[in-house]
């Protein structure tokens, strides 16, 4: 060492070995503080080759090396051995040529002479000084806390150091009742740790809820429930005014007069930065030692303090002090960058604090804001106190600015990433807190386990997608075709795309076909529509012939083209049945065994005894497998053979309910004003009117509607493609883009109008806009967010683009062209339209519910079947 100081005997003598000769070129770095911040700063400096530049001296209050203070609670709980928490034991300092003054306290810094005075009377010169003096437990004012000599009443402990922990451990076995004062992180850990040693523990917390620094009131209450379930008594909003006991603590007296017996008291009521040394040495101190973005201190006279820096809990940066470990690491890194010249411009800009920890065995994660602060902050909350689960997220301007998880922290990785990096958030905010059936996209394609099921509908794993890419698929479209991932409900599409991109590692071809309306024709929907109109193409085969490359038809494009032609030419399409999906050929929904389901129209979910009798008779007559009330307020007859369909329709005498098409399906309603004592508007009648108007309308995807008579939302209008809500005074809200299927999304408010007529007009215009502009199979819950509700509102409500009149007229034309498809039953349109396609299979394969079971029917219903196989006639050889 170049320093000429009196070295205390505790200093390792080996320190002289290394630096003596290399000496003069190296600057003298003195670090006051050997806690997590000081030691980390030195580690970072050494990692940047700092040993070449600096001779290092460290002062540490405690007579140890450097240990992980956070792990003290594990030591207290007996979950970890003392030696296991040391980050750097004494030999590390010697090995790195660090002159450690363990157990020596720095008392004064002479900034002008650049000397550190210590309590041994020695003076140590420095070229660069780093203060990392940390913080101390805060002991609130209470009578009886200290004895006359200022020492703590025996039996009273702070919880900060290894010595504190050892002292508590030494006494824990001798006593039976402990009170912990302060229900923050540390207090909960102390309570948990002491309880593990068999003590009865009460926790006294003067704020209204636990961990009030990190959690909001509700989360704190949920946490309290879990802590109490451990058998720890929790007293919130309870201020301690006195400790009782003469020679040793005997109890805790609360402000409300209650007294809790205690033979151990642990005070964990917060920390205070250790800034006395800095203040005494003429450095600027407010709540803590003030530093700039370079972690540099200033004089309290505003003058340059020279090469004096500070890091850790003793620091106040941009008005913030930190009591967590992550900010301290960031600060140490900036400091090391600066001091070693690795990045002379490195700056610390503050930390977004996040904690994820087990508090008393309960998982807790908290980052940023615990509650919304501004009126337009979004606040997503889920709370289930009975199970001790709480999750919330605060979103501002589309970025995550806070999140809290108690009891279930599975989403913390994603939230932490979103919080740190400002990632785009899922449009459905509920996905911040829950994986909606699929792995969350942001889990990251790379992190996802190979076996993780990506597409639940088609059972496709991540590995299958990766294999497809390795097997030569070079676009997302090819992967989707090869694996069928994303072809079910579609909610996993973007995850499929992410995994494909990740697997291709940047070799992904640009998927031009992504914007095509159908794979067979290289045009988007608007180009295709224009071409069809221009060339007056009226059939699907004509579209292929004229517009597809080489005129080739494509099986997978046919259904979409059929739909588009019917939108473009209502009532004027040249029908080609082969271009329809089987459901639209036979006007029923094919089931897994090749049978069909029959759902008669039941407008607004309203039926009559007469209709019910007919349905019952038909169900008996055709021995349907199951009679089921649907989610859309109709009645479903399941397990019907194709050849029975026409006669069933005739016997029912009811129109088709369109439960099979990419079309307007149903309008659910509540009982509205006729009977409901809360109803504000006649939702039932409006629902019937809407269904009458829009029945059978083909759309890019299915379209579900609902009308409710008040915001109680009994028919779930908030989560429909178009949902209408009576809000009183004759007014109705129209929501669009809602969903409650594979995706869950509340619709966006399109408009509030004054009459049912306006509801019908505006929702019709929206539907026509959707019919003309949405991609094939694009549900409104994708279409509306893609355009943005503001844009949709401009077009549909404000007519910003002058489209309204045309939309209205074309919708009217489509409505006028409605024909009940079940009337086809009288005269099949093509030969064998209703012939069975699996003639020999004993239908249905889907097990019947036994007679007597709910929804069950009598077995052996097929003996009367007339679905005879087509008997083949052998050709003479």
């Amino acid at each position: 060492m170049t320093a000429t100081t009196d070295r205390p005997t505790t200093t390792p003598a080996t320190a002289t070995a290394l630096p003596a000769q290399r000496g003069r070129a190296r600057r003298r770095l003195v670090v006051v503080g050997n806690g997590m911040a000081g030691a980390r700063a030195v580690e970072e400096i050494l990692a940047r080759g700092g040993a070449e530049q600096f001779s290092v001296t460290m002062f540490g209050d405690e007579p140890y090396g450097n240990y992980n203070r956070i792990a003290l609670s594990h030591v207290l709980a007996g979950e970890e051995e003392e030696h296991g928490i040391f980050l750097n034991a004494l030999p590390w300092y010697a090995d790195n040529g660090i002159d450690l003054r363990a157990g020596v306290r720095a008392t004064f810094v002479d900034r002008h002479a650049r000397l550190v005075h210590d309590d041994t009377g020695a003076r140590t010169p420095y070229d660069v000084l780093v203060l990392a003096t940390g913080s101390s437990p805060f002991f609130p004012a209470m009578t009886g806390l200290r004895r006359e000599d200022g020492s703590l009443l025996p039996g009273v402990f702070g919880f900060r150091t290894l010595d504190d922990t050892r002292a508590m451990l030494a006494e824990a076995g001798l006593h039976s009742r402990a009170v912990v004062i302060g229900g923050g992180l540390l207090g909960l850990e102390a309570a948990h740790g002491l309880q593990k040693h068999g003590l009865d523990v009460d926790l006294v917390h003067s704020p209204k809820h636990l961990m009030n620094q990190q959690l909001n009131a509700e989360a704190g209450r949920v946490l309290q429930g879990r802590i109490e379930a451990l058998g720890i008594g929790v007293h919130t909003a309870a201020r301690t005014v006195a400790l009782t006991g003469e020679e040793r603590v005997s109890g805790v007296l609360l402000a409300d007069g209650r007294e809790l017996a205690a033979d151990m008291v642990v005070v964990t009521a917060g920390i205070r930065p250790n800034a006395e040394l800095a203040a005494r040495s003429g450095l600027l101190v407010e709540r803590a030692v003030v530093v700039d973005d370079a972690m540099r201190c200033t004089g309290d006279d505003g003058e340059d303090a020279g090469e004096v820096y500070a890091v850790g809990e003793c620091v106040q940066h941009r008005g913030e002090t930190y009591g967590l470990v992550a900010p301290l690491w960031e600060q140490a890194s900036v400091l090391a960058d600066r001091l070693t010249g690795t990045d002379p411009a490195a700056e610390y800009h503050g930390s977004r604090t996040a904690t994820k920890l087990k508090v008393a065995g309960v998982d807790v994660a908290a980052m940023g804001l615990s509650e919304p602060e501004r009126v337009d902050d979004e606040f997503v909350v889920f709370s289930e106190p009975r199970r001790g689960i709480y999750s919330s997220a605060v979103v501002r301007d589309g970025r995550l600015v806070g999140a809290t998880l108690v009891g279930d922290v599975r989403k913390v990785a994603f939230l932490q990433q979103a919080f740190d990096q400002g990632l785009p958030l899922p449009e459905e905010r509920v996905q911040l807190l829950f994986d909606m059936g699929t792995p969350s996209e942001e889990t990251g394609a790379a992190e996802l386990d190979d076996c993780a099921q990506v597409c639940n509908c088609n059972g496709v794993s991540k590995a299958a997608i990766v294999d497809a890419v390795r097997g030569g698929c070079s676009t997302v479209g090819q992967v989707v075709d090869a694996t069928r991932a994303g072809k079910g409900c579609g909610s996993c599409k973007s995850l499929v795309a992410q995994i494909t991109e990740w697997a291709a590692g940047g070799d992904l071809a640009v998927d031009e076909s992504a914007n095509w309306y159908v794979p067979a024709i290289p045009m988007d929907k608007q180009q295709l529509t224009a071409a069809i109109r221009e060339r007056d193409l009226r059939s699907v085969s004509a579209v292929f012939r004229e517009l597809a490359p080489a005129g080739a038809e494509d099986a997978k494009s046919k259904m979409a083209l059929t739909s588009l032609l019917r939108v473009i030419w209502p009532g004027g399409v040249v029908e080609e049945r082969d271009a329809r999906f089987v459901n639209d050929r036979v006007h029923a929904n094919i089931q897994r065994d090749g049978t069909f389901s029959v759902v008669p129209q039941m407008k607004g979910g309203v039926t009559t005894p007469e209709q019910l009798r007919r349905i019952a008779d038909v169900a008996d007559r055709y021995a349907v497998g199951m009679v089921k009330v649907t989610g859309g307020q109709r009645i479903d007859l399941l397990g019907v053979r194709k050849e029975d369909l026409p006669r069933m329709w005739a016997d029912l005498g009811m129109p088709s309910g369109y439960a099979y098409g990419k079309s307007m399906r149903t309008v659910k309603t509540c009982v509205g004003t006729d009977f409901c004592r809360f109803g504000l508007g006649d939702s039932t009648q409006l629902g019937i009117d809407l269904e009458t108007r829009f029945q059978g309308l083909e759309c890019p995807a299915k379209l579900k509607l609902a009308v409710v008579g008040c915001p109680r939302n009994c028919a779930e209008a908030y989560v429909k493609d178009v949902g209408v809500v009576a809000v009183g005074a004759g007014r109705w809200e129209i929501y669009v883009g809602g969903a409650a299927g594979a995706s869950v999304r509340k619709g966006d408010l399109l408009a509030t109008v004054d009459s049912p007529e306006e509801v019908i007009a505006l929702s019709g215009r929206f539907i026509q806009f959707y019919r003309e502009w949405a991609g094939w199979l694009e549900r409104t819950y994708d279409f509306v967010p893609r355009l943005g509700i503001e844009r949709v509102r401009k077009v549909v409500v404000e007519d910003s683009d002058g489209l309204a009149a045309g939309l209205d007229a074309r919708l009217q034309e489509a409505v006028g062209a409605y024909v009940d498809p079940w009337s086809e039953g009288r005269e099949p349109v093509v030969p064998g339209q209703f012939r069975p396609s699996l003639p020999l299979v004993d239908l249905p394969l889907v097990p019947r519910r036994p007679g007597g079971a709910p929804g069950g029917v009598l077995p052996d219903v097929h003996s009367s079947s007339d679905a005879t196989a087509q008997v083949a006639e052998e050709v003479a050889p």
Binding site: A482, T483, S541, A555, E576, P836, S837, L838, E874
Partner: protein
């Protein structure tokens, strides 16, 4: 399907008029269900009628000149080779032709 020794027998399953253009119909050939498709080009194809993935009725599927798409889960198979386009087991392909009188003739496998 036990006639491995003799040349494949041919079976007249019905008249072409029974199968609308671009659609399929199911028949029985030698006790096996066969889906016969009439392409828009006028050709006919025949494959096993039951999809090997989950028993879907392929005769209810949509076709083009090359493939049939099963109506249940939209997997596609090549009608000429029986190969799946989506990694599923292949289909049995039957020889198939339209006879001079307009009847559809399918070979047993």
């Amino acid at each position: 399907m036990t006639t491995t020794q003799s040349p494949a027998r041919e079976v007249r399953v019905g008249h072409l008029d029974e199968v609308p253009a671009g659609e399929g119909r199911a028949y029985v050939v030698d006790g096996e269900q066969v889906a016969v498709f009439r392409h828009r080009s006028g050709r006919v194809s025949a494959v096993q009628a039951v999809c090997p993935h989950s028993g879907g009725p392929l005769a209810d599927g949509q076709i083009d000149e090359d493939v049939v798409v099963c109506p249940l889960h939209l997997f596609a198979w090549d009608l000429a080779t029986g190969e799946s386009r989506n990694g599923q087991p292949p289909l049995r392909v039957h020889p198939c032709r339209v006879a001079g009188d307009g009847s559809v003739v399918v070979g047993a496998c």
